[in-house]
């Protein structure tokens, strides 16, 4: 699904000449993506090794008041992608006449940030010059599995030193904006001040050995090199750091709009942080749209659904995935979420045992005892829960 959305979004990087964005895009590393052999619809060699044509990915985007819908389509194997997207791409760029207030695109895979991408010589050259990075570097490798946090780290360290030593190339506004985003993200979100040790004071550059490294200064005084942070902190702060950079490069501030994809957002996080991570992201980047996947009931347990906050469960199999809307889970216990939404078998659990007893009495025709067990289950998971309703209404249990 994420592959499909990323591919669809690549339509904005159309390099058609004479288009308004031509210069902007042509000097970036981005382009429109065709259908990759990693697409699940691609058949293996012994079955012909190609797609069943025509093949397409279609998407729809809200841009302020306007709606843009487009499609990347290949009719046959010997033709490229239909150019219908080009006009839509123009429509997209027309919404940003002066290339100002551009949307951030970012994607963080489940292997992020463990696998580091190599920097191209072009980007390394830009960094080495000491000059501000061009605006379109904000889309540098935005959709890759590997991380390019290294670019941002190097850029931050360089600028931090330039500001510190009054070098004219230093950008104090940039340093402050990025540090502020990290500060905002790490400050306690709840009245009960959970995770106080997570709160960051600032980010600095420090000489460690031969190199200057990025160091996180926590509010409680601890100083830890960014790359030596515990994995949970490392991943989530890398994400914030990356979004802040892309945003600043585009718009000279860190409060962007746009869309960010995070695969398995709970990875390595302490349960109490996993529970808060969505709130923290929304508090820090209020105008960003987050598309997030998770395997953790903690992430979704305190998630209140409304028009702007949606929750879907991925069902079906790999070749025919489908999405079903999930009812509001707010206030449900983790255990019930695991069982009713994440379809984790209730095996060996208390509820499973009770459900087994319920079925036993029902099948034995002892309604009084079945009811007694059902009441207990209702007390535990709520009589409105899917778990309860499915169990009690299932005619197979009769």
């Amino acid at each position: 699904m994420i592959t499909a959305i990323k591919q669809a979004l690549s339509f904005v990087f159309s390099k058609k000449k004479n288009c308004p964005q031509y210069e902007f895009i042509a000097s970036s590393d981005q382009k429109v993506k065709s259908f990759a052999v990693t697409d699940p619809r691609y058949v293996t060699k012994e079955h012909g090794g190609d797609y069943t044509y025509p093949i397409a990915v279609a998407a729809k985007m809200r841009l302020g008041e306007a709606v843009v819908d487009w499609e990347l389509r290949r009719q046959t194997a010997d033709r490229g992608i239909d150019e219908s997207y080009v006009s839509r791409s123009e429509k997209f760029w027309n919404a940003f006449p002066d290339f100002r207030n551009l949307p951030v695109f970012a994607y963080f895979s489940d292997s992020y940030p463990h696998v580091v991408s190599t920097k191209g010589t072009k980007v390394q050259g830009m960094l080495d010059s000491g000059n501000p990075l061009p605006q379109n570097v904000a889309y540098y490798k935005w959709d890759e599995e590997r991380n390019c946090t290294d670019v941002w780290k190097q850029y931050y360290v360089m600028n931090w030193k330039n500001v510190r030593y009054d070098n004219e190339k230093g950008q104090p506004g940039y340093i402050e904006a990025v540090a502020q985003a990290v500060r905002e993200f790490t400050k306690p979100v709840s009245q009960n001040e959970d995770n106080p040790e997570f709160e960051v004071e600032t980010l600095v550059a420090e000489a460690r050995g031969k190199d200057d490294v990025l160091v996180v200064v926590f509010r409680d005084g601890r100083k830890i090199p960014f790359d030596l942070l515990p994995q949970g902190y490392h991943r989530i702060l890398s994400i914030v750091f990356d979004i802040a950079h892309r945003s600043y490069l585009l718009n000279q501030h860190c409060n962007p709009h746009g869309v960010v994809f995070i695969d398995e957002i709970e990875l390595h996080l302490h349960p109490s942080l996993a529970q808060e991570v969505m709130t923290r992201l929304q508090n820090t980047f209020a105008h960003l749209q987050f598309v997030v996947s998770t395997h953790s009931p903690l992430v979704i347990a305190d998630y209140r659904q409304d028009d702007e906050h949606l929750l879907y469960a991925l069902t079906g199999n790999v070749s025919q995935p489908s999405f079903v809307s999930v009812e509001n889970l707010y206030g449900m216990s983790y255990v019930s979420i695991l069982q009713s939404v994440m379809e984790t078998p209730e095996r060996d659990s208390f509820l499973h045992n009770l459900a087994g007893a319920f079925r036993y009495w029902r099948q034995a025709g002892d309604e009084r005892r079945a009811k007694q067990v059902a009441e207990k289950i209702g007390e535990l998971v709520g009589t409105n829960s899917k778990f309860y309703r499915t169990l009690v209404s299932d005619e197979n249990n009769r």
Binding site: F350, N353, L354, A357, Y360, W361, Q372, V373
Partner: protein
């Protein structure tokens, strides 16, 4: 619980006599040291541990059952069978020692004095020093009744040094210990109202697991099912219905489910076959 009748004085005394004379010999003609500790390290002329032989005698007269909770210890490794001092090994004083007397138990007739007095007088037995006296020693389980939990919840290791009436040595204890169908046990002659001092509580005999085990035995007895029946699901579910009617808490219900299938807990339950005919 059941009265343990001390009948094997001859064999047991022979062991203790051998140990005590050896102790005296090794300490220049005087009894010395923590006698029970020395007994634990003593070997007979047959090259077996004295304590091991004594334990065999004790277990035999208890028919292999723990003196307090009635768990069958015969299939368990030696380390899970502990030696219980009815009168604690180290009473604080002679008064503390005497608290155990006068309850109509076999201790009253035993030819025994406190270990402190014995070491003081330095006279050969009888009377025997209580810390190694056959009349004062029983076999108890190690009090572990949760899988993977390295803590004693019942019996000797739960009691440690707390005073408790010499119940297994009292003649009517079998009648006086009343086991209810919900698994609770009460002692009819209990005079303490403070739960910390009640015999059944000091010994942890109303621990959740023991209660559940006795409840299940009672249920089996009512249902006429045998513990070795291949599938005991019906017993569990009937008991669940009882517990729900009683308004039992979730922890109790979850404990019940631990007895499903061929679990560790069901194996433990089988070791309490004493309760088969108790209800």
């Amino acid at each position: 619980m059941k009265t343990i009748v001390k009948r094997q004085h001859a064999a047991a005394h022979a062991l203790i006599d051998g140990f005590l004379s050896g102790n005296k010999e090794r300490h220049g003609g005087a009894y010395a040291g923590d006698l029970y500790e020395r007994l634990s390290a003593d070997w007979t002329s047959r090259h077996t541990k004295t304590l091991r032989e004594l334990k065999d005698i004790l277990l035999d007269e208890q028919q292999g059952l723990c003196c307090y909770c009635m768990r069958d210890l015969s299939s368990l490794p030696d380390g899970e069978k502990t030696v219980e001092h009815v009168i604690v090994n180290h009473p604080d004083s002679e008064e503390e020692y005497k608290r155990y007397l006068g309850h109509g138990s076999q201790l009253d007739e035993a030819d025994m004095i406190s270990a402190a007095e014995f070491l003081d007088k330095q006279l050969p037995p009888p009377p025997y020093p209580h810390s190694v006296a056959y009349e004062n020693l029983l076999i108890s389980c190690n009090g572990r009744c949760h899988i993977g939990v390295n803590a004693a919840f019942t019996c000797n290791n739960k009691r440690v040094h707390t005073f408790v009436c010499p119940l297994p040595l009292m003649p009517d204890v079998e009648r006086e210990m009343v086991y209810s169908s919900n698994g609770f046990v009460t002692w009819a002659r209990e005079t303490n109202t403070d739960p910390d001092r009640m015999a059944t509580e000091v010994l942890g005999l109303n621990h959740d697991v023991l209660r559940m085990i006795r409840r299940l035995w009672c249920k089996m007895s009512n249902m006429g099912t045998d513990v070795d029946d291949r599938d005991h699901e019906a017993i569990i579910l009937e008991t669940l219905a009882d517990l729900l009617t009683e308004g039992a808490d979730d922890a109790t219900l979850q404990l019940l489910f631990m007895f499903r299938g061929d679990s560790w807990y069901w194996t433990l339950l089988k070791q309490f076959h004493y309760f088969k005919d108790k209800f």
